[in-house]
Assembly symmetry: C2
């Protein structure tokens, strides 16, 4: 296949509830298939069997042929990395440069944008949904429907006492992980972020960087998710997270007001300088870019940049990652070249009509 | 008087020879009037008499009533500081905040733009000319004509062996100081500036900062002038300086080529980032501004910014100084306020039609 389908990208649209703070909402359910080994005992031949089982189940169900199967031994390394940058697959599914993904690894994209299934990641199946803005209930229900559908055709590994069995003990039970990606520059600027993150960890939630476990916090983005899955009803987990996220959003709004009250001029200056650098730089590292985008995103939240929408920033964030830049260039790029290509992309993105106030097309158009 | 006349400002037009390196050319002749005390023996009553003597001489001559007399006891402190920022008077003429200027201090603006006379600075008269670009011969001839005209009506203090007598021994002889303000970012970036400045000092020239003796080098501007005045024919002094300046311009051009050859991307990035910051910052210190203007000026020299002319940069440099900002605001400004007003001026200046490529109006229009 030459290019990847552009589905699964609605999460960058910058729409949805509280989109001035919340970038996206994700839910994923970890499931394993009875009769096949998983976790440390996983064997590749089982992986292929699992994939075939899922494929036939989907075909026999409502979806028919509507799902797109991206089997990892049929797409190249660059395309795998692109899916990773789109946050549609995990680093585990892509595997190391040396070993690559195991046989049977695949991403299944459902026709309803935002719904997909990773096959043969840490668990046999990871049903996942991703939405723009704060949409925990929506995300949970869409994942739940797919779970019902697949569960009715495939016997999932289940223990009466513990619940769904998973590769990693931390996922046993509901197998559910819900996470919300929030942008908290106000809390960072007012130095209150530490307190908030501490509070989060005390109520069974965890905060990570943009790219999940172990990743750095860049651009003041924090991924807040539930830590425990055992012995909880799914709806309760989701509700609990939503309540806490709403509280964090409230803190962030207050912090932004404090930032403006204590130094509107300094904040405006920081925001506009970042915008100026984005608009004119000829070379940008990804780290610098994320810092600048964070300031500009804050500026949009504070209504200092009335003509710019977060969709443009999300698009920039997505398409200036390494694999996307190399896909566009048609060849591998050195670090120096990537910085030049990245700056070029940013300049173009900020000079399009939509970045000047016409935010209509959005992600619905084919952005590849 | 409410506002100052805008004459004497043609030097910011960004026109003239080698204007990609040379900002302006100045010539001044130090003269004292026989029969009046000068230097350490100067008394204020003599100052007033000298001024009256000059006034009547000009009236009786070709100029009639065409000259504008700005007597320092008739203009306020802010206006005096504005003249200083326009480089039409020296710090010595303006005097300290405590003492102010001595009686009889004045600036006479001739109708031919670029020609003026400071009265009762260190010497009774300082005939001075200032031109845009490299124009030593023009500047010298215009000063010489005024010298002839005044000298024919007023007996100048002259010694047959030493020449014209001046307050400071370093000016005795021709009383001539010619100086060229050059922008040497290439030589600074290639670290060759030290060698060039050393060479200059070995051939009887001196290099100073933007605002003359004792001032810091800001924005990579250097004022190169003759150091000796004694025992030299004026034309020779001027020719010698011109030859050396042309050599420096050549070195600077070579350095700019080296800069581009060794890192075109880095240089372009530096130039455009500076432009972006100028265009969008909400607060700018004068020091930061000068650094940014220097980079953008280099960009214009390298033809990286085809739509921008140095006139716009010169205008920004002039009008964002403290007294000019306070004049525009109509009140004294704190340092923080000045930074905000400065950034506002810069943004407006870069968004005018002329800064977008239409460089026609220039300094000929009344820019006050």
């Amino acid at each position: 296949m030459k290019t990847l389908p552009s589905c699964g990208l609605n999460w960058i649209s910058g729409s949805g509830e509280s989109s001035e703070v919340v970038l996206s909402t994700r839910v994923r359910l970890a499931r394993n298939v009875q009769g096949f080994r998983f976790g440390n005992n996983f064997v590749e031949s089982d992986g292929v069997s699992v994939l075939n089982r899922v494929r036939s189940s989907l075909r026999e169900n409502d979806y028919g042929d509507a799902c797109v199967f991206l089997e990892f031994d049929q797409i190249n390394r660059l395309q795998q990395r692109i899916l990773l940058e789109r946050r549609l697959v995990s680093p585990e599914l892509v595997g190391t440069e040396e070993d690559g993904p195991p046989s049977g690894s695949a991403l299944i994209l459902a026709p309803n944008d935002g719904l997909s299934v990773m096959v043969n990641e840490e668990d046999h199946l990871r049903i996942q949904t991703i939405f723009s803005g704060l949409a925990l209930s929506q995300a949970w229900h869409m994942a739940d429907e797919m779970d019902e559908l697949l569960g009715s055709a495939i016997p999932f590994a289940y223990h009466n006492e513990f619940g769904f069995l998973t590769s990693c003990p931390s996922n046993v039970g509901s197998g559910l992980r819900a996470s919300v990606l929030v942008h908290l520059p106000g809390l960072v600027l007012t130095n209150e972020i530490g307190k908030v993150l501490e509070g989060i960890s005390q109520i069974g939630l965890t905060a990570r960087g943009l790219y999940g476990e172990g990743s750095d916090v860049v651009g003041n983005f924090f991924q807040i998710s539930n830590q425990t899955t055992l012995g909880k009803i799914e709806e309760n987990l989701v509700d609990h997270l939503e309540t806490m996220i709403r509280r964090v959003i409230g803190y962030e709004h207050e912090a932004r007001q404090v930032v403006m009250k204590n130094g509107a001029n300094i904040t405006e200056d920081r925001v506009w300088r970042a915008y100026g650098l984005l608009k004119y730089s000829r070379s940008l590292s990804f780290a610098e870019l994320m810092g600048l985008l964070s300031r500009v995103r804050l500026g949009i939240g504070l209504k200092l940049l009335p003509d710019l929408g977060v969709y443009t920033l999300n698009k920039i964030m997505l398409f200036t990652q390494r694999a996307h830049l190399e896909e566009a260039a048609g060849r591998p790029l050195t670090s120096t070249e990537r910085n030049l290509y990245r700056a070029t992309y940013v300049r173009k993105a900020l000079n399009t009509k939509e970045a000047q106030g016409d935010d209509e097309e959005k992600a619905s158009s084919n952005i590849l």
